[in-house]
Symmetry: C2
Subunit: 355 residues, 2 copies
């Protein structure tokens, strides 16, 4: 390709961008943002910068093409993803000397995830963990990776709930499972001794469950953990546009995330607090720790939740990491940023959980 071609292309390209609003009928007030370059984040840790340096730019189109179209394709996608993730979780548990035992509480499948050593300060605490995966993947052992990491890093006992999911079980099955387990737990321990939380859909499900606990008049957990939570099934929030093709994990909202969430929410209006918990009432919510990153497709979900909580008088602690995509602290768990994150989460829980 010669220089003239590039110059001509650049001319057409600029012309297209300049006229794009009219030709493509971009709705009034919608900005067209030009292409840009993004270097590896030199303000992140050296290890993270090097890891991103080796990562090709996320490909929106290619990623969205991977979206399953039929029920059979979804099931194949789920099975493959879960098989890989279960192996990862098992290996991690072994390496970190964490035991993972399957059990049933209130008729719901759970995993008891126990570190080799429990911090005496956490002796009477329990972390009730809800895994992520867009309410579609990471059932069974596949959903225990972050539970294992939390158990090992925080030295706290974890109970990971293997809640039911689509395609077979859309909302509110998952919320009902969380309620069933939580009711049983409340018979044996104080609500204030329990943390509840998870990443991505796990953060969203945490909030939806607390909305439901409030309706049911249940005592609320002592603290919440929202790791880059998905709190809105609709395509709302700057970061879903700005960080498209920048978030190396989710890449784009329009492919697998949105289509999986549609299945999850099929019984509800998309703004019902059970499926889009950002639209619920946050008054009385427990102290909450939130984390996101500058490349996170769900940065807006995270900061919107933080603000709604603060407006409702809730203690809410927002943490945003330079260079992080959706859940990088979990995907790249050996980075200094990941260690810092779980240390901060631990300090937060030690401050707010009671015995």
């Amino acid at each position: 390709m010669n220089k003239n071609f590039v110059t001509i292309s650049a001319f057409f390209c600029a012309l297209l961008l300049a006229t794009g609003a009219a030709e493509n009928k971009v709705p009034e007030g919608v900005w067209t943002i030009g292409p840009r370059t993004l270097p590896p984040p030199s303000a992140a840790s050296d290890a993270m910068r090097k890891a991103i340096l080796k990562t090709p730019a996320p490909d929106v189109e290619a990623t969205n093409k991977l979206t399953p179209q039929t029920r059979a394709q979804w099931e194949a996608f789920i099975n493959e993803t879960d098989a890989r993730a279960a192996t990862r979780a098992r290996t991690l548990a072994k390496n970190l000397s964490v035991t993972v035992e399957k059990d049933k509480i209130g008729g719901v499948n759970v995993y008891r995830v126990t570190p080799a050593q429990i911090d005496p300060k956490h002796k009477h605490h329990l972390f009730v963990y809800l895994h992520g995966g867009a309410y579609i993947v990471y059932s069974g052992e596949a959903g225990t990776t972050e539970a294992v990491l939390i158990a090992a890093r925080l030295k706290i006992p974890v109970l990971s709930i293997d809640y039911r999911m689509p395609p077979a079980y859309p909302a509110p099955a998952g919320i009902n499972d969380v309620v069933s387990v939580y009711r049983q737990l409340l018979k044996k321990r104080t609500s204030a001794s329990m943390a509840m939380g998870g990443s991505s859909a796990g953060g969203g499900l945490t909030l939806a469950s607390v909305h439901r606990f409030k309706q049911l008049g249940l005592d609320l957990p002592g603290a919440l953990y929202l790791g880059t939570p998905g709190v809105d099934v609709t395509k709302t929030g700057d970061s879903r546009y700005i960080n498209e093709g920048i978030d190396r994990i989710l890449v784009s909202w329009d492919g697998i995330p949105f289509n999986a969430l549609k299945m999850y929410a099929e019984n509800y209006d998309l703004k019902h607090p059970y499926v889009s918990p950002i639209y619920g009432d946050f008054s009385g919510f427990p102290p909450t720790y939130l984390i996101s990153g500058t490349r996170d497709l769900l940065l807006s979900d995270t900061v919107r939740t933080h603000r709604k909580m603060r407006a409702a008088g809730v203690i809410a602690d927002l943490n945003v990491y330079e260079g992080q995509s959706h859940g990088d602290y979990l995907a790249w768990m050996d980075l200094p940023e990941s260690r810092e994150h779980y240390a901060e989460l631990n300090a937060f829980l030690l401050r707010y959980l009671k015995n």
Copy 2:
């Protein structure tokens, strides 16, 4: 322009983007991010969404072309900007019943900015305000706008320091001015009764000054306010790339901001903590309130500062608002977001300032 043209243009455009890395010699590891659309932030307040709906997409090229090239051009730019800003500040003070009196402390020009009513809880407090403006504009009364707003909203007495700036006075003149005033203040009141802070360069100067206070062994203020602070003179941080052409206020780093900062930093290495305070040691810093937004060119500056403070054990409270560009809370001061911001800042100061 017909549809065929658009199709052909789109083809060339895609081709250009696909081959851009090779043709334009983008360094290895630098991602090329494609164009995108960005709707008004439907998760912001209605008033803010409507305000952005009326705002054309920021134009990077046109904005950068406004950068003055000669000393005379800089001076003309400064004079015009300051004249407009001074009028705005005077009008605001009048409308909010805030008195602004010029004075001198330690040989430095200051403005005593006093609200009609002082909250009894702030009776013994003082907010030492450092204005923004890339260390180049907003000298004199022009620098009192946010001081007036803080006085009115928080009902707290404010002292706005009219520190010296380039082109005549690069760093460390401004820091020395802050030190001179602060030393005088310490003779009459406790350090813990004073808040210090400001927006943009005012946030950066706040941090640089506290670095200097530590060197001099001075007692530190009781709390800091960092409004979308500029903490790094180098082009570091994701948001300076990601939010280029998205931040409606700063628009682009490469034009006026960077060229003004170069003048400010001319006596220093660009990573010296006096000019890029992010590279300093934050241990022992006072409790600090930070605000940024999802469209802010300095979002990374804000979150990097937050993390460095937390890593140093400092109490630091990060707030990120959906849809906000650099300092929108000040530019659009009547929006609900702006009121929420200053109410939060006030609650923070009431928690940490002492009498």
